[in-house]
Symmetry: D2
Subunit: 342 residues, 4 copies
């Protein structure tokens, strides 16, 4: 059994991680930390866990965490980078669900996250945890940067096109829509039911922190910088991201359906739909799955990809567990769940 | 492995049954029938099951169903009663998620369901599948009538009071609220998002089919007829029932919290909250659980119980699997899932 | 034209008041105050008002407010009672949408609101602004206490029964459900879309501030204290309250439909539905209307009333304007709007 | 007073038209027709209209309709074109909210709507009712083709760019999201709350009937055919469309903010937000308004426009009334309402 610790389990990615870990067959959940909730039963905050998880939140202590095989950080940005060095020194492996280790360039990190990076040397060795791209490196990684939710949906949707150099990669467009849980469990006016339900809006058009992350992924594949317009939107539901991706194709003779099916044929958590079908977010609610379709409407030169995930699962906690499974040589699908529908 | 058949898997209780059966460790799902969808892959209708269930709907055929150990009916009312005799003759056990075997009196059945009962003799032997009341009988039953969703939430909430004869049982009040999935997957105007979201209403005040069912359960416990006012309401969400139950207590000295905790102490799927807490429907979303609280506000003589379930799970498919587990001597919690929150 | 001031226009009752005042034919909106937003355009906070309201929030100043004919307080509880004396002294009439003047007994007020009442003598003269009960007094009032949202729906639903002494008024039950806007625009975790949507729960069972208010209204009519169990619930929508009311009738021969229709025949903002119909909250969304139905199910001795309002309109801003219309001798329906459906 | 008839008032655009007409100061609503509901009171179907509209649905009869000054068709596609000739002959003017007169080319019409056009000669004279483009022609029109909902949001958002020839008009992208009321009041499984809430999806990627309509509008402005990829999405709410529009700009020196503000400076129902703000659909809920913002993110060469409308108002009934106001020389804003927020 893998001994697991979770730092910061009081947000939505935290509770989702706990839900998935609680039924994972190869895991013992040893410690959950929260400064603000220390001493309280986890199941008092999250009653869905009553009877499944008999732990209390405790103050984070390094000597407790170092008894784990792996520690997940489900903390705000900037927390993990202050604690990782000690954990690595003790031989503990780390999966960070926040953004601390996602951008390889510390200057770029500071530009978007507005503080200096605390450990650039660890940043250098951290592996970006998108299994469909970096599986071999993840297997050996000491620190995995779990991808952002939008970057997961967008990158997986564009990868086959970029890998094959099929499209104008200077004018890529990603129009992405997220449920409100992407904004976290913080008490913000904009996330109130009365503000966010019966409402739809674009936000962050001038620049969103996931933009440099997506660009970095795609540029790494393309071997040169790419041009991407990324517009996130808030959609009135709890879970789910849909990304509609647009690119101008250079060669209309490519069989896009075959390309996508082959690219992801052996991936357990990417599902390319049969030609003509389109994915919907509810088909992945609660499940670690990226489901997608590719089309070229009216036989034109614009490729349209629609890619859906549950932002809290394949976009966060589920992908983190997939990474853990890979790191520890478990079946990659261990602990996976079926989506709830309706 | 138990060989399972499902008749009528195209509604919401059907897909929920399939989701739960697909990951049940002791079950082989052999056949799913649907006249209207025969020949189509189940996962084309319910894409959440892609990769988890590789079956096609087929026309119901008795010789295929008789190869099962148990057959679930997730059909409209009136279907199961026409097929059960042949299945029993072949030694197959039956769990009916519809209403065909819920009301013991065929005259009462006809009054509420408007057709003659097709097999009153089987009705006589059928066991009402509320495990918290009838576990021993369920274990031996050939036919289990899986309870209605409202009756499950209301009956479990009132049982301890009725069993002990603590309240005026001639003026019981059950004010129940259900998500829209309770109305099924049929294309009805009243179930459209544009009709049912941002809207709340009472319905069926003059008489709802679950009223005689609840009265029958409570009368069976009380050993005399009870007076119950039952008002269902439609609440703008997919899953969940909350029932607020009101009764005038005869003796204010009873420790209600202790009574409820003791009554359900050994029940795996009833959770009495600590004093002062109140349940919410999302804490049971996707889970086979009835969570409840009991209070006597302002030290008065009115007891208030709030009881929540997921109408598709403890109110339908999950309770059906709980019954199957009991009937076949499996662990009663086999195949159970944790609720999704948020 | 009536010169109007609004103190505290940044919450949901505030913006609703502004929406209704902006198109009221007999009103000039002179000043809107907010300490936190002073200097900002109202329409920057509430873009639905762009082009309809060209005012900025300003710091509340008594000499500006005293130039109005009437001042509405859409402030947190406890604010109005500190400012009303000066306004009255200047001849300004006041409508308080908060709770400061609702409970006639200052001791009871302190018990529920936890501070001493600042002006018991003004409290004594304040008129409870339920026009269907107190129209004549409202007409002459200097201070109107605009009723709470739940008390409006519950009181109007029970009035005919209590006025006629038809029911056991010691065991009244009010099971009420409110949309999330009733919790205000404050950034609270419990009001987040991810907490409150796809969820239903009871709250405040042990005691809610609207309980003494409803009891006071009903006791005033009954001429003796009444017994009421009041259980509020949170339902996943923005606007709307439904109250299901239960009472044991003493005499089953009363024609309840006729009683209700006659009681409210001349009320412009109470609509008794034809026998057999039930109200839904969306039928009053955005409108100053209380729509209700009365039934006695299965010819039993329990009366069931279902009463719906928009909590922000008949339960707050709309009723405030109705009170203003009465106070200033305008047509009582001036400025009224039709509900939005769907 | 203008005498108005409405043919087909039982859908969502129908009831919205009735709501707006019922309070329009210059209108007498004379007749509402519906074959299926003939004889029933309109307010029984739409209880929001109780007390505001005392009419019954009647079977459509040409001699009754010809007594109107103007007849609105809120019927399924293909109905109006069979009745318009007789109305015109009687001097009645017509506003069709369906698609019968939107596509100028009868061959294109048949391609998308699958029946022959019944009156190509009237089609030839019909005016496309986008006031911001065709106000002068609308004023004199006998038949106005009220634009589709998506075409309104997309066309208004792109007009300034196309008129000035500023962008590559062969690779325009319109990523549009609609609330579920766009699918109408028909009882379809896909529009059920349980299918459409907590869900987001693209649909019609291979071709949607609004695609040729938008292309026709833009081509008419550009004076040559345009290349447009149009992807509609279903978002879980009742009302509202947001269109995110993408185009590659030829000249980065243009002041887009000034261009948009000037283009729409005198339009009462188009609102260009100040630089830096983004529109949300709820700001136009119930109102006849298209609110938009234009940006060029990261100083790149891709222009992003976000445009929002209420699909039932500026996208249907409200625009129809705006057209009526223009046709009859009324104030263009007569009868306009403020959006409901929240």
């Amino acid at each position: 059994m893998i001994k697991v610790g979770v730092v910061g389990g009081t947000g939505y990615t935290g509770v989702e991680l706990l839900r998935l870990l609680a039924t994972h067959p190869e895991v013992t959940l040893q410690v959950i930390t929260s400064r603000s909730e220390a001493g309280y039963a986890v199941s008092d905050m999250f009653p869905n866990l009553r009877g499944h998880l008999d732990l209390k939140f405790q103050v984070p202590q390094i000597n407790v965490l170092t008894e784990c095989d792996v520690v997940f950080f489900a903390t705000p940005n900037g927390t993990a980078m202050g604690m990782v060095a000690e954990l690595l020194a003790a031989g503990v492996r780390v999966i960070d669900l926040a953004a601390d280790f996602r951008l390889k360039d510390p200057v770029e990190w500071k530009r978007w996250y507005e503080v200096d990076h605390a450990c650039p040397e660890i940043l250098a060795e951290a592996v970006y945890g998108l299994p469909e791209l970096n599986r071999a490196a993840i297997k050996k990684a000491r620190v995995v940067a779990n991808p952002g939710c939008y970057p997961t949906a967008v990158s997986l949707g564009l990868l086959p096109l970029i890998e094959q150099g099929l499209v104008d990669d200077q004018h890529l467009i990603a129009d992405a829509k997220s449920g409100v849980s992407g904004a976290g469990r913080g008490a913000k006016v904009g996330s109130l039911l009365c503000e966010a339900s019966e409402n739809f809006k674009a936000y962050g058009v001038s620049g969103h922190r996931h933009l440099p992350e997506i660009r970095q992924v795609l540029a790494g594949v393309a071997k040169h910088s790419v041009g991407l317009t990324f517009v996130p939107h808030l959609t009135p539901m709890i879970r789910g991201i849909e990304a509609s991706l647009y690119a101008v194709i250079k060669n209309k003779n490519v069989d896009l359906q075959a390309l996508y099916e082959q690219r992801y044929a052996s991936e357990p958590f990417v599902d390319v739909l049969p030609a003509g079908q389109l994915p919907e977010t509810r088909s992945v609610k609660g499940a670690n799955m990226c489901r997608m379709a590719v089309q070229r409407p009216q036989d034109g030169d614009v490729v349209v990809v629609s890619s859906v995930i549950d932002n809290l699962v394949k976009g966060a906690a589920g992908q983190a567990i997939q990474n853990m499974n890979i790191m520890f040589g478990l079946a990659e699908t261990a602990g996976a769940q079926i989506a709830l529908l309706p």
